[in-house]
Assembly symmetry: C2
Homo-oligomer: 340 residues x 2
Amino acid sequence: MPHKLMRVHRAAGRQSGAARPVMLGIAGDSAAGKTTLSTGLAEALGPDRSTSVCVDDYHRYDREERRHLPFTALHPDCNYVSIMEQHLQQLATGQPILKPVYDHATGLLGRPALVEPREFVIVEGLLPLHTKLARACFDITVYLSPTEDIRRQWKIARDTRKRGNTVDGVLAELERREPEAEAFIRPQRSHADIVVRFAPIDGRDDPPGTPLSAELLLRPTIPHPDLGSVLSGGERRAIHLKLARDSDGRPVDALHVHGYAPREESKMVEKAIWSQLTADGGELPDTLGSLGGGDRSEPLAITQLLLLYHLLEASLSRQRYSGFSKSKRHPASHSERWLP
Amino acid sequence: MPHKLMRVHRAAGRQSGAARPVMLGIAGDSAAGKTTLSTGLAEALGPDRSTSVCVDDYHRYDREERRHLPFTALHPDCNYVSIMEQHLQQLATGQPILKPVYDHATGLLGRPALVEPREFVIVEGLLPLHTKLARACFDITVYLSPTEDIRRQWKIARDTRKRGNTVDGVLAELERREPEAEAFIRPQRSHADIVVRFAPIDGRDDPPGTPLSAELLLRPTIPHPDLGSVLSGGERRAIHLKLARDSDGRPVDALHVHGYAPREESKMVEKAIWSQLTADGGELPDTLGSLGGGDRSEPLAITQLLLLYHLLEASLSRQRYSGFSKSKRHPASHSERWLP
């Protein structure tokens, strides 16, 4: 009875015409900095224009149930991967979803929540780039890959403070998760348009409290901004770009953002990038670079600026294609467009 | 960027080829007998071949939240109707869903549950036929419409026993719900292929405990079985068919199934229908007609038999179309096909 299928499709078609959001996917292991990166972006865009989804909500089992299972939360079998794919497709085509909710603090699964797509949808979690169908839903993909030392420090700090774990408990968990991190989390790196690595710089003896530097691998899978003019001046101490080979041999642009550079130099670079992105050079959103608790990282701010660039470009090119020029959600001025 | 959309669709397409289930939708007001009707059907088909979904799980608010709202659970605004439509489409095209869960006993919304479609999906609830898109997802639609007197008795009995309410509480709730029942529930009647009305028969003075009779309006929107041979014999006391006009003036076949008929006569009718449906005249599933707690209703059994007929026919015609002749889930013998 193919007519049934036709009826379903036709009836569904009549409801569509929903604007398609720009989808950013941020993958990385536990405590790789996904939430810090995405929170600053979402705040810069404002809640009217962006919505955030953590795909760890698609955990199939709660923390107690997982204790009795032969795999950890990192394993695809421990997650509703096909439902995640379904929901990503729906968001990518402008449809709302009823998203499951996993509470990281209690380890419990609760009442689901309605998520309506906005102009920008920021998706982060352990496995957003795990399958081909999930990846097909994103306009921009990022993999966060701090050094394992740094990630261990971050995970201990967070899980002991916010998730009721002990230092020994976190270390044991990291060890138990390692084979699945290797099998399922790290392979996502090769599918990202941008790989971000926060790390101290080898061979430097910076004083404690020096912000980490960031290395951004910019793969030619999406068109990156022309950073030439920004990087030709005296700001090379803060940031420089060089041609490199990725660990798999593929050519990439490697953008180094130095944590030890004086803040004024980093700020100059940020303003230069920002003025390229905005018509009227409005104020730089001060949520960029925030580490929470008043701490700042300029390498983080520059990473977020670059992602803002990609989000904005994708939205603009979508508007051009669809013939949009002006609407309530798409004001004409660049700076208005992404300032909350 | 239409290619993004194409990529999503193509990547999704590779996963499809899922068998499409036969979808039965049963609508009706609270305590109209939806669960009793569908439970017997699901048991006759068996859990390997059927799955049941209650669309009241799509309640947007829990019972406590509803106390502070200007509408009741019957109002579409009190339900995630567009998510219900989405999920019905997914089930109808053979995809799994992560279904919200509303606990009628506690009035709370909880952790969602995975529902994987099977050969038959039975969907029941307050609003499954409310929208055109939802209706497009069903192969067979039923509206349950007992007299309001009967429904009130059923609702009082159930809600005081299982949902912690009092008689006065139930009566007040019925009154509060009446305008929304009129506006949203009863209009679904006109979209059903079969309207089932359980009622005592006017003008008869049957002893207490006589099972209710049933009137089934069989609309020509789907091809009904030829009941001629069944109804030509001496069983006319148990069941008869007559041409009638519906309350809206449309012509219908009205099948009357009499609760006061001796059980043997009803049983003969059931066996005659059953033998038309099965090649080898296997045993009639004894879950048909069960009211729970050991009580039986032959009019209910005959209603369920008729629905089994439609489910089976729809599945057969789907197999013919798709070139299926035999598979684990579609055994060739009729009686095997639907006996658990």
